[in-house]
């Protein structure tokens, strides 16, 4: 048996472990575009701030690949898949055969599509190399602009602020984090960030990047000129799947997979930011390009590649972050779209906000700002899809009384049971 894995981040790494949880012997080859062992991509923020070194970001021990019998082809990329031949062509011209293939190639930052974007100083914020280049440039820069109000852009802006730069976030939509949280939380977090010195400007977008070889500023779409030496492009990501485009593999937003993370080809699987899965809450097919989803999907795909039969219940849009000591967590469906009932609790002066979203008696979404410690209970309820309408008010208070929570968990006395990531109730061994 020869397993081929394309991609060496959360999904690929968990793919290896998934395979090895069943098949200790099969050959595994992994193709990695980046020249490092798998690293914690989300922690490039900390690398940029300077609290973490490259080694601090490595996700596994040095001998992980060797111990797991994985042959790593570093600095290589897949260019074409031949599903009929069961081969993948890589950029050095070689064709690698496989018995089972995992596509875990992730995603890349979307570009701005404005004049001057190629100038030095304009960065995406995705890789260790991005962070390294930004850090280098930040040494002699005074001001950075962040285009886009998503989590990635804000994290980059946060890191640069911590490094002492002036930071201005430029968002086209009327608010930041518009795809992560709803209006109230968004407003609260924006106020917090502004109090901490990050400037946020909405309804604006860049028209042109100014400068010669290096960027010196930007012209906004209102005609205004802003001086800056760094620009971070945080306009979201798109899946890396060009190599699969003519292969006959089903592609919609991403590579379409079923509940086993399998594509329309029996022996080809996909996981992580490149994979389009069912959304646990909406039931719709979507890409939830998130670390949690990538790890769970990678693991599940690996198990199924090795002959297991693990069902992936669907991904859930869920984010957690902390900026300048203010934590916030959002999960599931956060807006009232179609008959959802919203319960909310505010203490805005204290930067505390809590919102629960119910649909047909079930919890389908939650947003917590400031006080977030009970978040996991909400996540468990969303994943288990239990009817909890009679608990709505108590849930909103932040905690469910344990007795009721136990009923929700259907646990016997003494908490002898727990729930799994896919929402199953199991006995503690």
């Amino acid at each position: 048996m020869h397993y081929l894995i394309l991609g060496n981040c959360a999904a690929g790494l968990n793919g290896i472990e998934g395979i090895r949880s069943i098949d200790k012997k099969g050959e595994i080859t992994l193709i990695s575009a980046e020249p490092y062992p798998a690293y914690a991509r989300c922690l490039i923020t900390n690398f940029l701030i300077g609290t973490h070194s490259e080694e601090d970001l490595y996700l596994r021990e040095k001998d992980f690949y060797q111990k797991n019998g994985v042959k790593v082809l570093q600095g290589k990329k897949a260019v074409k898949i031949f599903p009929q031949e069961k081969k993948v062509e890589i950029d050095d011209g070689k064709k690698i055969p496989y018995d089972a293939l995992l596509i875990a190639t992730g995603a890349s930052p979307k570009t701005l599509r404005v004049k001057g974007e190629e100038k030095e100083g304009v960065f995406g914020f995705r890789t260790l190399e991005d962070a390294r280049q930004i850090a280098k440039r930040a040494e002699k820069a005074e001001k950075a602009l962040v285009f886009g109000g998503g989590l990635i852009g804000l994290k980059a802006g946060y890191a640069l602020k911590k490094k002492g730069l002036a930071v201005e976030v430029i968002v086209k939509s009327p608010r930041i984090l518009s795809r992560v949280v709803e209006e109230n939380s968004s407003r609260l977090i924006a106020r917090w960030l502004q109090e901490k010195g990050i400037k946020i400007r909405t309804g604006l977008a860049p028209r042109e990047i100014l400068g010669d070889k290096e960027m010196k500023g930007v012209i906004l779409d209102n005609g205004e000129e802003v001086k800056a030496q760094i620009a971070i492009v945080g306009k979201g990501v798109s899946p890396n799947l060009s190599f699969a485009e003519e292969s006959g593999i089903n592609i919609h937003w991403g590579i379409v997979v079923d509940n086993y993370l399998r594509t329309n080809f029996q022996e080809i699987f996909a996981a992580g930011d490149v994979a389009e899965t069912k959304d646990l809450v909406t039931g719709e097919h979507t890409i939830n390009a998130l670390w949690l989803a990538a790890q769970e999907q990678g693991r599940t795909a690996g198990i199924n590649m090795a002959g297991g039969e693990k069902v992936y219940p669907g991904s859930i849009g869920a984010n957690a972050a902390e900026f300048f000591g203010l934590p916030f967590i959002s999960m599931g469906c956060v807006q009232a779209r179609n008959g959802e009932i919203i319960k909310e609790k505010k203490a805005e002066k204290k930067f505390v906000y809590r919102r629960l979203v119910f649909k047909d008696g079930r919890l389908t979404g939650a947003v917590l700002v400031g006080e977030v410690e009970a978040a996991g209970i909400y996540m468990a309820l969303i994943r288990k899809k239990d009817r909890v309408e009679n608990l709505a008010d108590e849930l909103l208070e932040g905690w469910v009384d344990y007795g009721k929570f136990e009923k929700i968990l259907e646990g016997k006395k003494g908490f002898r049971e727990t729930i799994t990531p896919d929402g199953r109730l199991i006995k503690l061994p």
Partner: protein
């Protein structure tokens, strides 16, 4: 593996377990000094209490832990040998991803810069201090089957711990 189990009918909500845990995880290991430490030591066990009921909650060391997949720093693992869910505290970047998924809300974050913490089952102790500190025997440390037996024994005996009847 040995775990902490709870006979919640015996829990008075006295919070002795919380104090014992915080002292155990302080730097001085002494109550009188621990309460003056900065930052204050954090109890890994948390007593939830309302008018009628109380229960101590802590990490269940789940067979399939949700937190392992959530951690963006690769700082949480399930130790296959011991069964423990292990937090590598120095890897924590306070992203709250583990908090986002723990069904028991068993993970706590302290003051700024402090890593996320949870029950580590006090490996170097024969019996975790929280269990030792419980005055009513509501906390039990051992195998699931042992706890099961104990619960059946207690059920047969029919009456609650004498302490519960005070007052």
């Amino acid at each position: 593996m040995k775990r902490i189990f709870v006979d919640e009918e015996r829990c008075l909500g006295c919070r002795s377990c919380e104090i014992a845990c915080a002292i155990k995880h302080s730097s001085s290991h002494k109550l009188e000094k621990a309460i003056q430490e900065q930052p204050l030591p954090i109890s890994r066990i948390r007593v939830r209490k309302d008018e009628e009921n109380a229960i101590p909650l802590q990490c269940r060391h789940c067979p399939e832990p949700c937190c392992v997949y959530a951690c963006i720093a690769g700082g949480i693992r399930k130790d296959e040998k011991t069964g423990l869910v292990v937090f590598e505290e120095k890897k924590c970047v306070r992203c709250y991803s583990c908090v986002m998924v723990c069904p028991f809300a068993a993970i706590k974050l302290g003051e700024e810069e402090q890593p996320a913490v949870k029950c580590d089952l006090c490996q170097e102790e024969e019996i975790p201090p929280c269990v030792r500190a419980c005055p009513t025997g509501a906390l039990f440390f051992g195998q699931a089957e042992e706890f099961q037996e104990l619960m059946e024994k207690r059920k047969k005996r029919g009456k609650k711990n004498a302490l519960l009847n005070i007052g």
